[in-house]
């Protein structure tokens, strides 16, 4: 990687930056889920390593969150965008060199950001925990060069139209920058009080809704037609999905604070808009499912589709929960309980991780021109992820329902903690399975790069048979 930093643009092989981003994302996924597993162990057995100041739960919890969001999810997005955008524009990446620098500075910045968070230097705001100098670094050094590459590649495309995936990529990067800068205004200008609290959740909601959800969906809009060979079922439904995301997903931020003293009109408005999230969700899920017509056997036989479609299937409960759990009728019961933790993992570890994993699996094979080393290992990874996630999701949902019931009957809180203990152990087990599965993934990718069968020119990796 380092030798490309000072090389001439034309001397850098196309796709180098995407490979670096891909490898980084897998490494960060291992780190992030490892931290998650360790944190979960502390919730089950709080005296684990209790004398080590650096391993305190309160210091590590946010490092886990940001390692998976900025390390795994965002870098997998960057990897996907850097190879899908040029492919769909029938062109090459606008600047490979910028992308290589982008990847290096992204990793350096993320290490620094996580080290500061770990040491306790925080802005005290959930999801925007980074201190404001790091926020500026993230916006201008990590995200702007990445976005420039995406936008300029789309502008320099050699196709007449822009495919669905690329609208989502371009628009999401634009919205991400706007949200990042506006959402962090309380830190830049020291806004205080309820405005600060509301802006914190405005940021948290929109960064998930306008970056992670649409980009993960956009990835499946590429992978599913590409691998099955079927054209996307409907461009028009894609339009509906896109515009509904922009309008309905950018407005319900206040539903995260339904029991706080925000203006009542705002909570009602957010709640209604929150239910309307079902519009883009249903449009998207139908579009992908219908694209699969006649090719459903590939869901079983093809590892990329197995990941991508599992992600889409998980988007169904995700959006059903998301649409309804924020209404007043339901929110009071599950607010602030493990249910929400389960829901957050359904979005990030369920839907989006499975979609990204498919893009990284597929992209690494395309970029390295090598067939995946082992289908069995990839299946093992898939089921470790799926079973680990399911254990996590089910146990935390049950724990959340226990907490909700305890709210009604005014059970002393310590009894809730005791009742949740078995579920905390299952949560740890699930998280550890995800972590271990990811290690096999890294090994599989390493072996693919080393000894995977070379994909002949003019063929695509999924057309070749697996050898292991």
């Amino acid at each position: 990687m380092l030798k490309y930093l000072l090389a001439k643009e034309e001397d850098i092989p196309q796709g180098s930056a995407a490979i670096f981003f891909g490898v980084s994302s897998i490494c960060w996924f291992i780190i992030g889920t490892g931290l998650g597993s360790f944190n979960a162990s502390k919730l089950a057995f709080p005296d684990f390593f209790h004398n080590v100041y650096w391993l305190q739960f309160g210091h590590m919890r946010q490092v886990h969150v940001h390692a998976v969001i900025f390390g795994w999810i965002a870098m997998a997005f960057a990897m996907s965008m850097l190879y899908i955008t040029p492919a769909l524009g029938n062109t090459k990446l606008w600047s490979e060199k910028l992308a290589v620098w982008n990847c290096l500075l992204y990793n350096v910045g993320l290490c620094l950001a996580l080290a500061l968070l770990w040491s306790g230097m925080t802005s005290g705001r959930e999801y925007s925990d980074h201190i404001w100098p790091i926020d500026l670094y993230i916006a201008f050094v990590m995200v702007v060069p990445w976005s420039l590459n995406v936008w300029m590649t789309i502008l320099n495309r050699r196709t007449q139209g822009i495919y669905t995936t690329n609208w989502f990529f371009a628009a999401s990067m634009f919205m991400l920058i706007i949200i990042f800068l506006i959402g962090n205004l309380p830190e830049f200008f020291h806004l205080t009080g309820l405005n600060e609290a509301y802006m914190t959740w405005w940021f948290a909601h929109n960064v998930l809704g306008l970056l992670i959800t649409p980009v993960a969906a956009a990835i499946t809009y590429y992978i599913v037609p590409k691998v099955t060979g079927n054209p996307l079922y409907s461009h028009r439904v894609g339009h509906l999905h896109f515009w509904a995301i922009v309008v309905f997903y950018s407005t319900p931020a206040a539903h995260h604070l339904m029991s706080s003293p925000l203006p009542e009109w705002l909570k009602s408005f957010a709640s209604v808009e929150g239910v309307l999230i079902l519009v883009p969700a249903i449009a998207y899920i139908c579009n992908i499912m219908l694209t699969m017509q006649g090719k459903w056997t590939m869901f079983v036989t093809n590892i990329e589709l197995k990941f991508a479609l599992t992600g889409v299937f998980l988007a169904i409960p995700l959006n059903m929960q998301g649409g309804f759990q924020q209404t007043r009728a339901i929110n009071w019961y599950i607010h602030g309980t493990g249910w929400i933790v389960a829901h957050a993992h359904l979005a990030l570890l369920g839907f989006s991780t499975f979609a990204e994993a498919s893009a990284v699996y597929y992209g690494m094979q395309v970029l390295l021109r090598r067939k995946l080393y082992s289908y069995s290992l990839a299946n093992f990874h898939f089921f470790m992820l799926l079973i680990g996630f399911s254990l996590y999701w089910i146990s935390m949902t049950i724990a959340g329902l226990i907490q909700g019931a305890a709210k009604i009957y005014e059970v002393p809180y310590l009894d809730v903690v005791i009742a949740e203990h078995p579920y905390m152990i299952v949560r740890w087990l699930g998280g550890t399975m995800v972590f271990l599965g990811n290690i096999t993934w890294l090994w599989n990718m390493y072996m693919t790069a080393r000894v995977g069968t070379v994909v002949p020119v003019g063929r695509l990796p999924h057309e070749l048979a697996y050898e292991r």
Partner: protein, 312 residues
């Protein structure tokens, strides 16, 4: 630049996103900013100071640049007995909370009273001073009184005359840094928490507070009024040192490292030995658990315990 055919889409996108932000940021911002400070908000600001998370004056979150809350039973100036009074001491150079420096945060009525009856205009960060929170008897409007101007209470004299010094401002920094808010909310819910966790806050309760750190996920009880439910400093001290001492099934981490090197008497704290003694107690070898050291006056443990006990 083959962008022409997407011109309409780009314009529509701009309109949609701007409208969305107008409705979800600008309008709520106007509505929230219209509400003046409550008495609670004034007290919180004067207790917690300017900023409790990362900032230029306390980048490592050590609890610097914070006011000290004191409880007085005699007048610091004259020495005469007075009713029990809570005062907020800003040593010279301590930064004022936004509510004292930004007119719209305090609220129109509150600000007018603070200026006319409280002589707030005379307060400067450079010189510091002592503040009180009063409520106007006729209108019920809360306001800030700058006691250094109205009563001649000086910083040093007030600290000396104080019965108790409460480092709740520094404690809130610890609350943020140690991530207490990942498991404990500061927001009893409006629907069903009245009985267990007390009165939910109202809109004006947060003016000038930064960060508000409501928390979003409960792995432990809500703490907004915890000092009213349990006001025992001994219990809190034991609980922070090792929660399993007083709550055998608690999953809270131990915060014994906040004690620093030595206790209040300067005696070095041997955590390894304490653990061995505790394990002996847990096994049933000894009838009593080892004693928990009393935190030193300027220890981080003292700060966080003060903060929690001050959550009335």
């Amino acid at each position: 630049m083959a962008f022409r055919e997407y011109k309409i889409g780009c314009i529509m996108f701009g309109i949609a996103l701007s409208t969305s932000m107008f409705v979800t940021i600008f309008l709520p911002g106007l509505d929230i900013s219209r509400i003046g400070s409550t008495e609670e908000a004034l007290k919180k600001q004067l207790t917690y100071g300017w900023e409790s998370a990362f900032n230029y004056y306390d980048p490592f979150l050590l609890g610097k640049d914070k006011p000290i809350k004191v409880v007085l039973t005699k007048d610091p100036e004259t020495g005469k007995p007075i009713d029990k009074t809570e005062a907020y001491v800003f040593t010279a150079g301590t930064h004022f909370p936004d509510g004292l420096t930004h007119d719209n945060i305090m609220g129109t009525k509150q600000l007018a009273l603070s200026k006319s009856k409280g002589l707030l205009a005379q307060a400067t960060e450079k010189r510091g001073g002592v503040f009180l929170v009063d409520v106007d008897v006729t209108t019920g409007v809360p306001y800030v009184e700058f006691a250094t101007a109205t009563k001649g209470w000086q910083v040093a004299a007030t600290l000396k005359a104080a019965d108790v010094r409460i480092h709740a401002g520094s404690g809130k920094t610890m609350f943020i840094r140690e991530g207490c808010w990942w498991c404990h909310t500061l927001l009893p819910e409006e629907t069903q928490d009245w009985q267990s966790f007390g009165r939910p806050p109202v809109t004006g309760d947060f003016n000038g507070e930064s960060p508000t750190s409501f928390g979003s996920d409960r792995k432990g009880p809500d703490l907004l009024h915890v000092g009213s439910r349990n006001s025992s400093r001994e219990w809190m001290t034991m609980h922070f040192f090792n929660p399993r001492l007083v709550q055998p099934h608690s999953i809270m981490p131990r915060f014994n490292y906040l004690w620093g090197k030595a206790d209040i008497n300067g005696k070095v704290i041997d955590r390894q030995k304490w653990d061995r003694d505790f394990m002996a107690y847990a096994r049933g070898d000894t009838p009593y658990p080892p004693a928990v050291p009393i935190p030193a006056r300027n220890s981080e443990a003292r700060y966080i315990i003060d903060f929690v006990l001050n959550l009335k």
